[in-house]
Assembly symmetry: C2
Homo-oligomer: 119 residues x 2
């Protein structure tokens, strides 16, 4: 999740597609490899960093951090830091992200049906 170079054609294309077409913009928000996995696990309430890490198989600390930061920027998660030793940080979905849930449910339904047509 390195910083995207703002002069590349690739960057331009992605930006243009997203700004012209809102469903593309939305798909880009949830399209990260771990984004929806994190959403699933936060759907039932807030979790700490370490809890998320344990629940999501194979994710590295690095990727978890990067995804959470990106989702925070995109206003999909809220991050709360408690001034303690040892540190305690909790993550939860924003109001906006919660409104995504019914849509994801439908996507899941569609995916189940579609999968059957794939054999």
């Amino acid at each position: 999740m390195s910083k995207i170079k703002e002069t590349s054609t690739h960057y331009e294309n992605k930006k243009n597609l997203g700004s012209e077409c809102t469903e593309i913009y939305a798909a880009n928000l949830i399209g990260g490899q771990w984004t929806l996995a994190i959403c699933c696990h936060l759907a039932n309430g807030k979790l700490r960093f370490g809890e998320l890490r344990k629940r999501i198989p194979n994710i590295t600390e690095r990727m978890l951090t990067l995804q959470l930061r990106k989702m925070e920027q995109n206003k999909l998660v809220k991050r709360t830091v408690y001034a303690q030793v040892p540190p305690r940080v909790e993550y939860e979905l924003t109001e906006s992200a919660l409104q995504l849930n019914p849509i994801l449910k439908q996507l899941e339904e569609w995916g189940k049906k579609h999968r059957k047509t794939m054999d």
Copy 2:
């Protein structure tokens, strides 16, 4: 869109996420950079290769071909070749892809609202 190496951890992770969680599987299907753009333009009926290329700004022939092939594999588009000279190839959305449309509409609605919260 190079061939994915089936021994990499990256590949394993992606596969596992997609097979456990159907909404992730579905999101992966529509997550390509040009996938939804192509869907939009095919939503109102079949189009030829060249028509698609003209309507989608900045896409190269290479990327259009790659995306269409991927979508064909994923059973999102149907490809019809007419045995003529010069060649004529038409693309159209499959039944299954058409059922995705209402969901994309909702995603679009959500995106519009969400965008406002981003300032």
